[in-house]
Point group: C2
Chain length 387, copies 2
Amino acid sequence: MPHPFPSNSIGLVSPQTAHFTEPLALDCGRALVAYDLVYESYGTLNADHSNAVLICHALSGDHHVAGYYEDDPTKPGWWDNCIGPGRPIDTGAFFVVCCNNLGGCKGSTGPTAINPETRKPHGPDFPIVTVKDWVRSQARLADRLGIIQWAAIIGGSLGGMQAMQWAITFPDRVRHALVIAAAPRLSAMNIAFNEVARQAILSDPDFHHGHYYEFGVVPRRGLMLARMLGHITYLSDEGMRAKFGRELREGKIDFNFNFDTEFQVESYLRHQGHAFVDRFDANTYLLITKTLDYFDPAADFDQDLSVAFHRALARFLVVSFTSDWRFAPARSREIVQALVRAGREVSYVEIPSEFGHDAFLMPIPLYHDTLRAYLTRVAQEVNAHAA
Amino acid sequence: MPHPFPSNSIGLVSPQTAHFTEPLALDCGRALVAYDLVYESYGTLNADHSNAVLICHALSGDHHVAGYYEDDPTKPGWWDNCIGPGRPIDTGAFFVVCCNNLGGCKGSTGPTAINPETRKPHGPDFPIVTVKDWVRSQARLADRLGIIQWAAIIGGSLGGMQAMQWAITFPDRVRHALVIAAAPRLSAMNIAFNEVARQAILSDPDFHHGHYYEFGVVPRRGLMLARMLGHITYLSDEGMRAKFGRELREGKIDFNFNFDTEFQVESYLRHQGHAFVDRFDANTYLLITKTLDYFDPAADFDQDLSVAFHRALARFLVVSFTSDWRFAPARSREIVQALVRAGREVSYVEIPSEFGHDAFLMPIPLYHDTLRAYLTRVAQEVNAHAA
């Protein structure tokens, strides 16, 4: 009996693994001798390989971006609402690819992977990777799949930073870059929040300098705190007010010193923290927050982002959300201004929303209509080129 | 040889302790049988006791609000820039009082105080206190000092909440309430930040359910994380950008997995966290964050703050700061609107600043001029009444 998936769902999907044996030189000066990238793909690559779309994931995302796994038919991929036949990222038109980034903990080589030399997890010996490293590794995956040029590269948050970096590093391999809820680089406040999250993990006695795997423990408390804190920055004040207000969980104030959850928002955050610990690795969290902090594409161009974009050949869609204070609309407008000064073609849309940074994952009609309209034009280009 | 204090400094000061033996019934249902309040006072109480000003402190503040201690002549009180002869809160005109709040850790009875029955610190057995409890205890201190009515009650942040509560609870004992960088109550996001701070302390293995004193340890890691996080919410994105930018501490990116501080903002936050652990108690931090979360003066008045203010007789000055996102100007405007609807006299000033919430402690000229002008009028009233 078939699973009762929605009619415009991509349905059952399964990940694949690409193994690479050519060493990858990293920005940190070290190299990965060999590595795996786990990825998913949906839709069909057309004859001239011109309809491929790369999705880049954010901090805690992974390659399972749409559809369902056979063994978990109730929980779709993290951006399923946007990807499928007839959805904004239309798998009827595009061949959609997403890989778990290097350093991740969902199957691509990262701190949790076994180091063949020591037969133990890499742990803290895994090198720090950068957005540029990711882009280079993704380019090798594209080579493997026979994709010379992506019709579009799409990402939200840290994913949007990868889309930007692709357009700068590989100008002739990206026709369109869709940069959503991103920033040209992190602000001091962004870095400060990451630093508190890192300190929470590093100061957890179960962290064991990153070698916790060998002790049969994980730094649960630290990772939970990091996620709770992160989660606050993904929401907005007005969104939280609408969702939780000051609702008390049991209907009354407790007034003792045991600090059980009293307000709904406390309960929600603790749940988010607990759930995260079961699905994410602390070393990967440390690593990817550093990847975020280091991202600075203008650094190679005398701190002038427009000079960086001068290299790019892609056309851009930049999207921001009004209540996003992690990467506020002003940060997206910095990207747009640099693109305009660089003479690039760019469309900019600011979506009214109270969902904060998380809005980029939400099926907000104006947002999805925007993606749909833009990508319909991209699909028309693909068809015109193929015809 | 006299200390070279600035000429408009109040100079050397010393704290005093008031011991109370009449039991204080608390909102939580319990009572304090006896308690101490440590306080400081500056200036001279006039003949008809009409020139007294109460300063209420915020989360991590205390009674040492101005002047210098003999044994630490380099570090003035926390609001010294605003209080002294000729300063905005002019000790030539006013008798200024500030006490460490109940539940504090600087001399007033709180979790660190010895419980005479057990001869151990109260620790987690200390009752949760509310802003209303504080106001009632401060009223007893006023009785002790012979102050029937305060010329003004002044406070920033949680201190401003106490000023509001005073005007509601003791209408005839407050002529002016100066409510600075405050909010009518905490938002879900405010509570969420407090909850992460509490979880950091509660999950520290050195917390020992609050009985850490008996183990000869303190939950340093948790308290440090709580303070680092709090500190981010006291600053603003633009202020941090101006102060730290993305300056690297050693001039270059480290690119290894040891997570030493690299960016200046990281170093600053860690320093703030470390310094706080040496001067503050974790149980007090837990308690006062709950005091903040519970503050809701409208709750007794069917959630209509204007009905609460209808009782008040004081005139109000409400001050907010443009870049304060902890208690944003919009929250101050809620207070102003409720006051106006209640028919109260209120002046409202929004001060341009990039210092975030911390601005209420800064000697911003427009801010200090505002306080000076308002309090000059209050002093004139005092003189007119005395004449």
